[in-house]
Amino acid sequence: MEIWHKSFRDKLYRLALRLLNSSDEASDVAQEVWTRLWQRREEIPKLNNAESFAFTMTRNLCFDVLKSSRMKNERLDTLHENTLAGPLSDRVEMNEKLALIHQAINNLPEQQKIVMQLRDIEGYELSEIAHTLNLTQNNTKVILCRARQNVRQTILNFERHEQETYSGFTR
């Protein structure tokens, strides 16, 4: 089954990472989801969409983690080091603009983060994402649309700001 593949666990990890911004916490969540799935492996074939079931589980666990006060205290400290010090920064030099996009997505509300993560990064159909979030497809589309526009707005604002400072510098 596809959900037992390592790549699917990485998907769970990336979704958790998107929400938690902490590599350690995200891998804990992904591992937990995976073990819970394994414990209920006999029920899995009965589900019509096992992947969105797993994503829902991941989302709920992430929300639990976010709710806990411990995490709230830690997050402010670990936010920057963890997001930038990942496997990505080892492989690709994260330039300013990529960091900007990262920040733009990071500032989105949780729902928009999830939708954007699953759609633009993981490439899932809207119907599957709607199933994951227990929303209608139209609602999901609206959330996705807002997420993309928010990100674009952040980028454009930054560009404009940069141009202004650049022009100001030349004067």
Partner: protein, 215 residues
């Protein structure tokens, strides 16, 4: 034309109307096109960001490595136990071969005693009953006297019937008297014979009761 197409796709994209295929097309376009209008450069960054984010994999955690170490320890433990078992399985037959001479000996004893046993039993039962007459006539010297007397009587009267058959057997017994000790030793050895046989025929649990009974 191409630019117009991409522009339409971008507009659709930000409305959330693009299909997955169209989004793939967009991603491919921004990845492969070297020269882009300046206003599109941020979108290239965005799509490359999506691409690179998808490459993130879950890091192997220390806990998992520790678990792996534990599994490795268990595996080595099991393999060690297996080697010990294999070594034991080599040595146990060796001890058995050491025991086989004993079994051979018991076999020999078995055949040896089975041949001798029937006369022995008759002998061993008889002396017990005959003990009282034997003790009466055990002393060799009086018997000889009687014999000499009888012989004299024989010589005198010529009666052969006076020669007592019992006294002859008694003298025979007397002659074998030194062998009586040997018989006793033999009887004593009988027990050991059974010990040897027990090793061969009887299970270990039965040994204790048999030793206690002395049979």
């Amino acid at each position: 034309m191409n630019k117009k197409h991409i522009q339409d796709l971008l507009a659709k994209y930000f409305e959330g109307e693009t299909s997955l295929r169209e989004e793939k097309e967009l991603k491919r376009f921004f990845r492969r096109t070297a020269l882009l209008p300046e206003e599109w450069e941020p979108y290239r960054q965005m799509f490359t960001f999506f691409k690179t984010e998808r490459l993130r994999t879950m890091p192997v955690k220390d806990d998992i490595q520790k678990k792996k170490n534990i599994y490795w320890l268990i595996a080595t433990g099991i393999s060690l136990a297996a080697t010990v078992l294999i070594l034991l399985s080599i040595f146990i037959p060796a001890t058995k071969t050491q025991l086989t001479p004993l079994a051979m000996a018991t076999k020999n004893m078995d055949t040896f005693y089975s041949k001798k046993e029937q006369p022995k039993k008759a002998e061993t039962t008889k002396p017990v009953k005959q003990e009282s007459p034997k003790t009466m006539k055990t002393k060799p010297v009086p018997v000889r006297k009687i014999l000499s007397d009888d012989s004299s009587t024989i010589l005198a009267s010529g009666k052969k019937e006076n020669y007592p058959a019992k006294s002859v057997t008694a003298t025979m017994n007397d002659a074998f008297a030194p062998l009586e000790n040997m018989k006793a030793i033999d009887d004593a050895m009988d027990k050991f014979k059974y010990f040897a046989l027990m090793d061969k025929y009887l299970p270990a649990q039965d040994l204790s009761s048999i030793i206690r009974d002395g049979k």
